[in-house]
């Protein structure tokens, strides 16, 4: 039985097959509308995450399956002290596949070890959020036509951003990728990532201002710069505008550059950018549903 705990659990070839399936679903959703008839997805969310949970539920409903579950630990038996291991054994009796989010790192892996059904890690603390990475990869592959052969700028909080670290680790498996890290000094990408890039001989650059690299980018992955990450208010006020994407900054970008964002955005992308054809973050959310549909079908062994 296969689970998904980490974006690197699938080989590049397996990911290609998964993304091909997601693209076939995108092209002809009606063909898959009954693929999971009679199957149930349990969404076990020990902490609230509306978009991820709804994306999983939409994916299963689109496949003709049904969903059950809980959306915070307070309404589950965890409030009575039940362990993750016991909960998953019970859930295995009720459902065919489970998506689990938990504030503690590694909880979905504990579940996978004891589970009788496939478990998908839907986010475990600051550790992994593999379906976000799969969503990012599918969006890039679908809209660029390839994974590789581009310069990607990652902008914002690169120190604590889980989605950024996962995406970098996933992208280094493809060829001819150049990274540009755009962040304030306080939120630079961790050394273990730049060390890994140096070791693999993958080119990267670190810049402070978004304007400094905009014309060179084929992709721009935006994340939020949170005020509480700064040591003092003065630095935050001085730097925050460097990381807000607006029409003026976007005007320096290539015509075919794509802007991605894991969402929710707060103010790091001005709403005036939303109508620009390069802004694909809402399409990205749609690809998130397709990739979860493909993942459910793959893990259930319905379609590979």
């Amino acid at each position: 039985m296969r689970h998904l705990m980490n974006p690197l659990d699938f080989s590049v070839e397996e990911l290609d097959r998964l993304f091909d399936l997601a693209n076939r679903i995108e092209a002809d959703p009606a063909k898959y509308a009954h693929a999971c008839d009679g199957k149930k997805l349990a969404t076990c969310f020990y902490e609230p995450s509306t978009r991820t949970r709804l994306s999983f539920e939409a994916a299963m409903l689109n496949l003709g399956g049904q969903v059950l579950g809980f959306s915070d630990a307070g309404s589950s038996s965890a409030a009575k002290g039940e362990s993750v291991s016991d909960t998953i054994r019970i859930i295995s009796c009720y459902a065919d596949i489970c998506a689990m989010r938990h504030p503690k790192e590694g909880a979905p892996m504990v579940a996978a070890e004891r589970s009788g059904i496939p478990v998908i890690n839907a986010g475990d603390g600051g550790h992994q959020h593999p379906t976000q990475t799969l969503t990012d990869l599918l969006t890039i592959r679908s809209l660029k036509g390839r994974l590789g052969g581009f310069t990607i700028g990652l902008c914002g909080d690169l120190k604590f951003g889980r989605t950024v670290h996962s995406l970098i680790n996933a992208l280094v498996r493809y060829s001819d990728i150049r990274f540009i890290f755009i962040s304030p000094e306080e939120l630079k990408v961790p050394d273990y990532i730049t060390d890994m890039l140096t070791e693999k001989d993958i080119p990267y650059e670190e810049v402070i201002r978004l304007e400094d690299c905009m014309p060179n980018l084929d992709l721009l992955y935006m994340t939020r710069v949170q005020k509480e990450r700064f040591f003092n208010e003065e630095d935050y006020v001085r730097l925050k505008d460097f990381y807000i994407l607006d029409k003026a900054k976007l005007s320096a970008a290539k015509k075919e550059m794509l802007v991605l964002h894991p969402l929710p955005r707060v103010n790091e992308i001005s709403v005036e950018v939303d109508d620009d054809p390069r802004a694909v973050y809402f399409k990205q959310a749609q690809y998130g549903v397709y990739v979860r549909m493909a993942l459910i079908l793959t893990l259930l062994g319905i379609e590979r």
Binding site: V84, E105, G106, M109, V110, H127
Partner: protein, 145 residues
């Protein structure tokens, strides 16, 4: 000079860093075995200045020595049969270590679910880095129980 007699069958763990023998005694769970054990502390050593030695009289198939490599791969493991050294075991880093290193990450699931084993997996053999199976936290020098 202290004299400890020969053993017929078992292991002599030599060149243990001085002061570490008792920790090894516990990691090998020798306290739970009904066998003769000699713990020699601060023995004179030409190579190390001083060292610890453990002599364990037991069936050579009963003891799992994998953990020794993690603790100190410079330990010499002499296998004794019929009172003679029949083999010198080379220590190989174990792929997984169970309940020897405690995960110190307060965000790890093992911090709230007490019955879970603390499992560390060899993530980088060259750099001898172990990571928690669940949260991937790196094992530090002070992580052993």
């Amino acid at each position: 000079m202290l004299n400890v007699g020969k053993i017929e069958e078992g292991f002599v763990l030599d060149h243990i860093e001085a002061g570490k023998s008792l920790a090894i005694y516990h990691h090998l769970k020798l306290d739970k075995l009904d066998c003769t054990v000699a713990i020699i502390k601060n023995a004179r050593s030409n190579k190390m200045g001083k060292k610890d030695i453990l002599k364990v009289e037991c069936d050579i198939n009963t003891l799992n020595l994998d953990i020794l490599a993690f603790i100190d791969h410079n330990i010499t493991v002499n296998v004794i049969k019929d009172g003679e050294i029949v083999d010198k075991k080379e220590l190989v880093l174990p792929r997984e270590i169970h309940n020897v290193i405690k995960c110190k990450n307060p965000r790890c699931i093992t911090s709230i679910e007490q019955e879970l084993p603390h499992i560390f997996v060899l993530a980088d053999e060259e750099k001898e880095i172990y990571r928690c199976k669940y949260c991937e936290e790196k094992a530090g020098n002070s992580s052993t129980w």
